[in-house]
């Protein structure tokens, strides 16, 4: 199986193992879509059930949410650039753009933690109302995914420093790029259906 190695095409797709692993990751992403769908459904159903806690309209601030969105959108772009550099064979470019991606991801997380602490101080906690439970679980699960992605990519950066660009390391970076773009897709829906709609209604 590993004997077949193509001579052309992106490095990560040249072995059958690489092709199958990437396909497997797409299947995992399909399952992640369903995981987030259940959380979105819970949120949508519990929308407006704020009991005595503040309403989303009172707490959501457009400024901070837009900054978070731009940080994550930009990180998705720089992650794409990192893979582009990888395919040009530039390990330096890959590492540089990946570090920028991670810095933007950490900035996003910082704002999210600040936001959560702020809401908690205003009396909107997981315990205070069904709506806020659903909100914190949905946004928190996304934040947890970002945290995992940052840790994962950091380990991969250490690995590529040691092993250089091979079929295996390039495949691993390609897969984390898929994961990172996917997080951005989920965030777009959180941004739209949680924050924007929460501010409209």
């Amino acid at each position: 199986m590993a004997a077949e190695e193509l001579k052309t095409g992106p490095l990560e797709y040249r072995t059958q193992e690489g092709q199958m692993t990437i396909m497997g990751f797409w299947i995992f992403l399909g399952a992640e879509v369903v995981l987030f769908a259940t959380l979105f459904a819970t949120y949508a159903v519990l929308f407006g059930r704020t009991a005595d806690a503040p309403t989303p309209g009172e707490l959501f601030e457009p400024g901070i949410v837009l900054v978070m969105t731009f940080l994550l959108l930009t990180s998705s772009f720089t992650c794409g650039l990192a893979i582009h550099e990888m395919r040009r064979g530039s390990v330096k470019g890959l590492i540089l753009w990946m570090i920028i991606t991670l810095a933007l991801g950490l900035g996003f997380l910082g704002f999210e933690i600040f936001e959560f602490v702020h809401y908690t101080h205003e009396g909107a906690t997981v315990q205070s109302a069904a709506f806020w439970s659903a909100f914190f679980i949905l946004a928190g699960t996304h934040g947890l995914h970002v945290t995992l992605g940052v840790g994962w990519a950091t380990l991969l950066l250490i690995q590529i420093k040691k092993r250089g660009l091979t079929n295996v390391t390039s495949r691993k970076f390609f897969i984390i790029s898929l994961y990172w773009h996917f997080l951005d897709v989920i965030w777009i829906f959180i941004f739209t259906s949680v924050y924007l709609i929460g501010m409209v209604i």
Partner: protein, 124 residues
């Protein structure tokens, strides 16, 4: 892949600009505009779907010929998105309309009815 020789990947740049513009338009529609709420919600949900498309097609290489096109399990992804739609839309539908037992009356009556019912249940 001819594109990988280039210094700047144009499709990524275009995708990035598109997603920024769509985010700003959605934010403007929700915060600044005076459009009717229903229109705003439909509009920004369409923008979100378009943005997801930008990510998938311009960043995530789903239609890349050099990777053989066969390594994205389309049926699985379709399955995932179909389930997502059913879960969200179905839950909303059931929870918004499911507790109408056919007795006429406005929302307030229904809610009272519901409360009575839940009290009955907790009594058992």
């Amino acid at each position: 892949m001819a594109d990988s020789k280039k210094r700047v990947p144009m499709n990524h740049v275009i995708g990035f600009i598109l997603s920024l513009v769509m985010t700003l338009v959605a934010a403007w529609a929700a915060i600044q505009s005076n459009l009717p709420v229903t229109w705003v919600i439909i509009g920004i949900m369409i923008l979100a779907l378009l943005q997801a498309g930008v990510q998938l097609f311009m960043f995530m290489h789903v239609t890349e010929a050099s990777s053989g096109n066969g390594h994205v399990p389309w049926n699985m992804m379709f399955h995932g998105f179909a389930l997502a739609g059913i879960l969200v839309a179905g839950s909303l539908f059931v929870m918004s309309f499911g507790h109408d037992h056919g007795d006429n009356g406005d929302m307030g009556d229904n809610q009272q009815h519901e409360e009575q019912q839940s009290e009955d249940h907790s009594g058992h």
